[in-house]
């Protein structure tokens, strides 16, 4: 929520009056400095976006009009007080800006890097109404969070006095972390149970280093630890311990954020050939298991002719990873056109700069292998666009008889995920949709089993980091009210 009092503070009033709106909107939008595309397409772990300098950030912050009714905030799933943090950057109070972010977001350095801002805050920026480019809110968010981290002056958000009520969180991805952060602020004793050996969920196993370094995720996790959140790794709720065990152990509320478990395949011929894998498998090997490093015991294929099937962020992450691991030809195969691609605009831009081939309006119908069962070719159906479908996007239609055969030595299938079945399978009374998602009240995130709240991909099926975080925040607020009601 916007803090109206803060908006009328003397410093901010003065800042607003120091420049005319026209002067602000006339400043061109900042360009994020980036690693050279040719260099970075061979550098596996170096981050592509280098971050803004203080001067760049302060100039960009000047572009913000500090609107009385900031529409940008309507686009933010976690409700960051955007004008306040931006204006703090403008006046050079970077630590104050970071503090503002952390009031509502458990992971500002993450969001500044991976949020689809063009569809959220920046997509609702006042500048767009004046046919100007929106304020680079995402870049500024990243700047403030990075500045704080690098300053060594990391502020720990204030927490209410401990109420000694135990709350369990299932899964340490973005929904679980956002929930844990808010509950810790409310004074609860929060324990997060993670199935894998690392904390962070999709932020660790899914999103590559070149887009979101693991070290940055770790700092955000340490921040939660200093707020008193406990983490237990290698523990699968529903398997190692049951929901009943948690209740018996005195947990008064359980937030299930177990994520999107099962990768989807297309059930086409040859999909089980060696060298065809899900993006979850490919990215987990490279990101979580560090399989491309010499000292890692986990193997990974380093394909030379790699096709990634799909047009989402995960597909972009996979194709750019394949390129970095030495693919001479790395292709995106997508059945619609570029316009319908669900990936962030920036990821598509970066992928193109790095020499990725985009085979849009193509859909795989068969994979062909050699005697050893290794994939060697893919047969693609050429498509065209028809009428808009249920998703509002123009639907892809086959052009009869038009196919193409393309050489590949690795295929990564990135056509979505289904919710993790472990919790829905193991908890009695939980209402589950036909897609396997947990059904909750959309306002409170409470499930049919009152003690269980849920959010993120286990509820949505497959969404973004920030939407998962928004769920976590809403669930925390609602669970806090539910517990207080008794």
């Amino acid at each position: 929520m916007q803090n109206k009092e803060d908006r009328s503070a003397a410093w901010r009033d003065e800042l607003r009056k120091s420049m005319k709106a026209k002067e602000r909107t006339d400043i061109p939008r900042v360009h994020m400095p980036e690693l050279d595309p040719v260099y970075r397409s061979h550098s596996r772990v170096e981050e592509v976006n280098l971050g803004l300098t203080a001067e760049m950030a302060m100039l960009e912050a000047k572009r913000c009009l500090d609107c009385a009714n900031p529409t940008c905030m309507l686009g933010c799933p976690v409700g960051i007080d955007i004008p306040r943090f931006v204006k703090n950057i403008e006046r050079g109070e970077f630590l104050e800006a970071a503090k503002t972010l952390k009031e509502t977001s458990a992971l500002p350095a993450v969001c500044g890097r991976v949020c689809p801002q063009e569809k959220q805050c920046e997509g609702q920026c006042m500048h767009l109404k004046m046919k100007k480019e929106p304020v680079a809110v995402g870049h500024l968010e990243r700047f403030a969070a990075d500045y704080e981290r690098e300053s060594g002056n990391i502020s720990v958000p204030e927490t209410a006095p401990a109420n000694h009520i135990k709350i369990a969180v299932v899964g340490s991805g973005p929904a679980g972390l956002a929930f844990a952060g808010d509950m810790a602020k409310f004074g609860y004793e929060v324990v997060v149970f993670e199935a894998l050996h690392e904390i962070g969920g999709v932020l660790k196993y899914g999103i590559p280093e070149f887009r979101l370094p693991n070290d940055i995720v770790d700092v955000e996790i340490q921040n939660l630890q200093s707020m008193g959140v406990h983490f237990v790794t290698n523990c699968v709720v529903g398997k190692t311990i049951s929901i009943q065990d948690l209740e018996d152990d005195g947990f008064k509320g359980i937030f299930v954020a177990s994520g999107a478990g099962l990768p989807r395949f297309m059930n086409i011929k040859g999909e089980n050939l060696v060298g065809v894998m899900s993006s979850n498998e490919y990215l987990t090997r490279v990101n979580l298991m560090d399989a491309a490093s010499e000292d890692s015991d986990t193997p990974v294929f380093k394909g030379k002719k790699v096709a990634i099937i799909g047009g989402g962020n995960t597909a972009m992450d996979s194709v750019r990873t394949a390129r970095r691991l030495g693919a001479e030809r790395a292709m995106i195969v997508y059945r619609r056109s570029e316009e319908e691609m669900p990936a962030r605009v920036e990821e598509v831009k970066h992928a193109k700069e790095e020499g990725i081939d985009f085979l849009t309006l193509h859909n795989p119908i068969e994979y062909i292998g050699n005697e050893q069962g290794r994939v060697t070719q893919m047969l693609l159906q050429v498509m065209e666009l028809g009428q808009p479908d249920a998703s509002g996007r123009r639907s892809p239609i086959e052009i009869p008889g038009k196919t193409e055969l393309i050489d590949v030595d690795m295929v990564v299938v990135s056509v979505g995920v289904s919710p993790n079945p472990l919790i829905p399978q193991s908890v009695k009374g939980l209402e589950v949709s036909k897609w396997g998602t947990v059904i909750v009240n959309n306002d409170t995130m409470q499930s049919a089993v009152p003690i269980i709240f849920a959010g993120g991909d286990i509820v949505r099926g497959g969404a973004t980091v920030i939407l998962a975080m928004g769920d976590g925040r809403r669930a925390a607020k609602a669970m806090d009210e539910w517990i207080k009601k008794g």
């Binding site: 050996h197 999909e271 089980n272 894998m277 498998e281 987990t284 015991d297 294929f301 993790n420």
Partner: protein, 271 residues
């Protein structure tokens, strides 16, 4: 971190570990497996749980030294720790009184068969266990198997112990002499394939416990997928046990060999 409390050599390359894991010991049932990772940069590998001791809070794993990861695990001594272990995973074996059950196991597959044999016996089945190995020294857990089985048939390829022949010869001899209601098989994929072909011929329902490549073991990666009755299934969450007559073992064998070249290079580096 899970502490190793005992280590016993069944043979030079087959080792039995008891590992501290009180929560897993409490939750596990016959047929479950764990994911194990040794070292910070270790690989996650699936291992079926062979036994558990609730009082001691330990589980038993039997490991065969094969590649880099199993060799690193086998190098651990009593008092040392397995870096990461998570479980119990997969679906437990469906146990009921079927009648007469033949349990056909080979190599280290004998270890995860033990709790299944015990559970089947407890449920009132007549259990005939066939243990097979290349040679006498590789026959493991015979005594424990005798404790829970009505009969144990030992088969060795070279005839150095028990009967000379393959596991399938042992299974066939039972089928030929009495009505068998169910066969359960655990062992190398190639062995399970031939057990399955045999029992299909005699129309004996058969379960095979599959051990495929996995990364997370919780349904996330899909590396473990197999074709069962023409449908793709995930061994980690849909299995590890399936109707053997519906499993495409040839595809499974092909997928198991997927990383062989990389594995060979890594072993060479280690040596």
């Amino acid at each position: 971190m899970n502490k190793i409390v005992s280590k016993e050599y069944f043979s030079a390359n087959v080792i039995k570990f008891e590992v501290e894991a009180p929560l897993i010991a409490k939750a596990r049932k016959a047929g479950h497996f764990v994911m194990v990772k040794v070292g910070l940069k270790g690989e996650r590998i699936p291992l079926t749980i062979a036994d558990a001791d609730l009082q001691k809070g330990t589980i038993t794993l039997v490991v065969q030294k094969m590649g880099v990861s199993s060799s690193k695990l086998c190098a651990l001594e009593v008092g040392e720790y397995i870096t990461d272990m998570v479980g119990p995973l997969g679906k437990a074996t469906h146990i009921e009184n079927f009648g007469t059950v033949v349990c056909a196991c080979g190599g280290v597959g004998t270890a995860p068969m033990l709790p299944i044999v015990a559970a089947l016996k407890k449920a009132g089945n007549k259990v005939v266990t066939v243990i097979a190995a290349r040679t006498k020294d590789l026959i493991i857990l015979e005594e424990q198997m005798r404790e829970y089985s009505d009969e144990v048939i030992v088969m060795t390829d070279d005839g150095s112990y028990g009967n000379k022949g393959l596991v399938t010869n042992g299974v066939e001899s039972v089928i030929n002499r009495e009505k068998v209601d169910l066969c359960v098989t655990i062992g190398p994929a190639i062995m399970m394939k031939f057990v399955s072909l045999l029992t299909k011929k005699y129309e004996v329902p058969t379960l095979a416990s599959l051990n495929t490549i996995m990364v997370d073991g919780t349904g996330m990666c899909g590396a473990c997928r197999v074709s069962v009755g023409g449908k793709t299934k995930f061994v980690c969450v849909d299995g590890p046990e399936f109707d053997a007559h519906l499993v495409d073992f040839d595809e499974m064998l092909m997928r198991l060999g997927g990383y062989r070249d990389i594995e060979r290079e890594d072993m060479a580096k280690m040596a």
